[in-house]
Amino acid sequence: MGLKKALALCMFFMVLASLAAAGRGWTEERKQSFPSYGSGPVEVRLYTDYFCPPCRAMEPDVEKILQDLVKKNAIRLLLVDTPIHRYSPLYSRYFLYAIRQNNALEHILRIRNILIEASRNKEMTTQERIEALFRERGIAYSVWDPKPVFDRYNALITEDMIKATPSCVVIRNGQKKTFIGGAEILNALKDLT
C-alpha cells in the first residue's frame, strides 16, 4: 500500500471517529436537557402547567409516587410543561435552563416546586424576576435555545391530543391510556406501584 493511500485511509478513519464522538456528545447533551427519567417498561407522560390550580394541588402526592416508580425503574417518566397560561412558556424556558445544569429527578422536582410557588405571585412574569428568584434559591441555570425541546413537547401534545391539564398518558405493553384530573392521575399511578 502506498504512503498516500495509507495516509488517506488514516484521515478517513479519524474523521469518522470524530463524527461518531460528536454525535454521541450531542445525543447526551439533548438527553441531559430533556425532562425524562428512568428507563422502565412503562412510559408515563405527565402534562402539567405551573399556573393550573389542579396541577399545583396534585403535585405533592404525584411527586412521591413518581420518585418511587423511577427509583424502582418501573417507569420511564416524561414531564411535559404544557403552555396553557400566557406565561407558561417563560416558566418552561427557565425550567429547561435549570435542568441543563442538573437533571437529577430530586433536583428538578425542587425546581418545579419553586416555579409553582412563583406562579402564585402575579408579579413573577419577567425573566429578570425569575432569574432573581433562581439566584436567591441557589438554582444554577444556563441560557440555551430550548426550541428543540419545545418542538418535542408540541409533538407529544399533538400525538396525545392533550386539551387540558393535568393529563397523564400511560403507555403499557403498547397500549395507551389517558387520565385527566388529579384524582384520576393519582389512581392510575398508584396502580403502577
Partner: protein, 149 residues
C-alpha cells in the same frame, strides 16, 4: 310587576351575569382547558365583556323617543351574538371540548334574546342571526391544543 319592568330587570341582570362569567373565566377546578378563541384577533373573553357592557348601556338610559331604535338595536345585536354562539358551540362539539363558562354565557344570550324578541322585529332578528353566523364562520379562530409558538 309589569312585563316591561321584568324585561328591564332581565336586561340588567343577565348582562351582569355574563360579565361575571367572563371575568371568572380563568378559574378552573378539576382541570385547566386549553380551549381558546379569537374573533378578528381579539380574545373572545374581551369581546364577551364589551358586548355585555354595551347591552347594559343600552338598558340604562330612559327610552324616550329613541326607545324603538334602542329596542331594535338590542334585538339585532342579540341575534348576532346568538348566531356567533351557534358557531362557538358547534366548534366545541366538533372538538369534543366544552367550556362551561362559555356555555353559560351562551345561555345568558339565549335568555336575553328570547326575552327581547318581538314579532315586529323578526326580519331584523333574522338578519342579525345570519350576520352573526357569517361573521363568526369567517373571523373566529379557535384552538384546542396548547402548543409552543
Amino acid at each position: 310587576m309589569s312585563k316591561g319592568h321584568i324585561l328591564k330587570i332581565v336586561n340588567i341582570v343577565f348582562p351582569a351575569i355574563g360579565i361575571g362569567l367572563m371575568v371568572f373565566y380563568d378559574a378552573c377546578t378539576t382541570g385547566c382547558s386549553s380551549l381558546q378563541g379569537t374573533f378578528m384577533g381579539l380574545k373572545l373573553k374581551v369581546i364577551g365583556i364589551i358586548f355585555m357592557v354595551f347591552l347594559l348601556v343600552l338598558s340604562l338610559p330612559p327610552g324616550g323617543r329613541n326607545a324603538d331604535f334602542v329596542r331594535r338595536l338590542r334585538i339585532i345585536f342579540l341575534a348576532g351574538a346568538l348566531g356567533g354562539e351557534a358557531v362557538l358551540v358547534r366548534f366545541q362539539a366538533v372538538q369534543d371540548v366544552y367550556c362551561y363558562f362559555c356555555l353559560a354565557f351562551g345561555l345568558c344570550i339565549l335568555i336575553l334574546s328570547v326575552a327581547n324578541f318581538t314579532k315586529v322585529d323578526r326580519y331584523w332578528a333574522l338578519g342579525g342571526l345570519l350576520s352573526g353566523i357569517a361573521a363568526f364562520a369567517i373571523f373566529f379562530e379557535g384552538s384546542v391544543l396548547p402548543l409552543y409558538r
